[in-house]
Symmetry: C2
Subunit: 258 residues, 2 copies
């Protein structure tokens, strides 16, 4: 088998320790091309850049390894990597390792996972990795074998059509990790608050702040897995349809009322 072409991106930016660890684990497995944002893009979700031109900057060129930064979002970076740098679909897209959780509802806001879902839309097998530690000096030393195993499984087994993986890793030492658990996305939400302040010119402004509230600790959820020191693997897709609600809404008499 030819060496797989592996495209790597993230949302914490090209200089984040998380993407450095992911590159280190991936390089022995294939030809690695990195295209990542030149600055942190947390909370950018699936944003794409349509108002401004995008630019690529080559940082490293070695045998079987290329590294670029770009001025766009994680989704822009994935697209530029696929279409401009590689010029065809890579064999796999990896995103992360994110500094902080993308479990439960966090996937909605996540740039890391948006890059994965964009690859999924384009028909490319894709996996996002996140470690439950927001700090810049998070300890990524426990993750190597688990990430390697998951990447190799995706390369070997492929993924069902329209399915990508959202992998979250608890922030505990390696000997405390109990294993890898396939699960569903827990229901949860952020209880947000705006921190209101007054600027030196006497005008009010607001900082978004909040705390995560988990209302769903069933044993089949990612929240449960992580709280119990398992690595959570959630197969994800981009079908927003609430299939169970189709019948209820269909029964509304809207067409008689117009």
């Amino acid at each position: 088998m030819n060496k797989p072409v592996i495209l790597i991106t993230n949302d914490d930016g090209i200089f984040a320790p998380g993407i450095r660890k992911l590159i280190e684990v991936a390089r022995p497995l294939g030809n690695v091309i990195v295209v990542a944002p030149d600055s942190p893009m947390s909370g950018m979700s699936h944003a794409i850049t349509v108002k401004n031109p995008l630019r690529l900057r080559k940082i490293v060129e070695e045998e079987n390894y290329l590294e670029y930064s770009c001025n766009g979002t994680p989704v822009d970076a994935m697209k530029l990597g696929e279409q401009v740098v590689i010029g065809k679909k890579p064999d796999i897209v990896l995103s992360g390792i994110n500094h902080g959780s993308n479990a439960s509802v966090n996937i909605v806001y996540s740039g890391t996972m948006a890059a994965v879902i964009e690859a999924n839309i384009d028909g490319i097998p894709a996996v996002g990795f996140s470690l439950l530690d927001y700090s810049h000096d998070a300890d990524f030393s426990a993750v190597d074998e688990f990430i390697r195993t998951i990447i190799l499984n995706v390369l070997e087994n492929g993924l069902p059509e329209g399915v990508a993986l959202n992998v979250n890793i608890p922030a505990v030492p390696k000997n405390q990790i109990k294993g890898i658990k396939v699960c569903r996305q827990a229901k949860g939400r952020w209880e947000e608050e705006f921190d209101a302040r007054t600027d030196p010119h006497n005008r009010e402004y607001y900082w978004l702040t909040g705390a995560f509230k988990n209302g769903d600790m069933d044993k089949d959820t990612d929240s449960w897995a992580l709280a119990n020191n398992y690595i959570s693997v959630v197969p994800v897709n981009y079908d927003f349809t609430a299939h169970k609600a189709l019948k209820t809404i269909s029964n509304w008499k809207m067409n008689n009322q117009v």
Copy 2:
């Protein structure tokens, strides 16, 4: 019944004709509070502003009507409206009317629908409206009765827990609209290209461009409904789990390999 509190936002910005039409239809139905971005935010998806402070600007204050702009994304605007301007959950959140389609995979990139999904996460009934005409001078004259009917149905029936509505309207005269059809999100994707150019300083830059490819014209899809002059109503949720893939991925032997 007390007049419902209706929070309105969009992603084309506070001055877009689409939001003006939505305000016009909603005002007779309740107390309307508008909080919308001060500039166009198309393609911002579910982005939230964490690096910069947010500001609100009061534009109109009348009986049963308040209008603010903000410097954030559509999701920021919804949150500021709920938590700072109203100070509690509104009875319903309306978003749009978007200039352009949010059917099929377009929902993934949409700021209009992200505001709706954010309201949904917060447990507020929410509906996003889009007209399939991207132009600033799109013709919104056919939409009044349909939008009014859908809003009244949501206020009267409520929505199932965790479900919001994605409404798309074909850009045809009113007498050609065949009715309202509840349907699922069609599979589709953008076939993108980067338009590569060279700036006056001899550096390359890229514009994101592309064409929508619909590979899914089943009769139960929003794409089919819109192509056949129906208004499409897709019940949506924010569970990304690919439930059908849980078993397949669970059968991988990952835990034996670490």
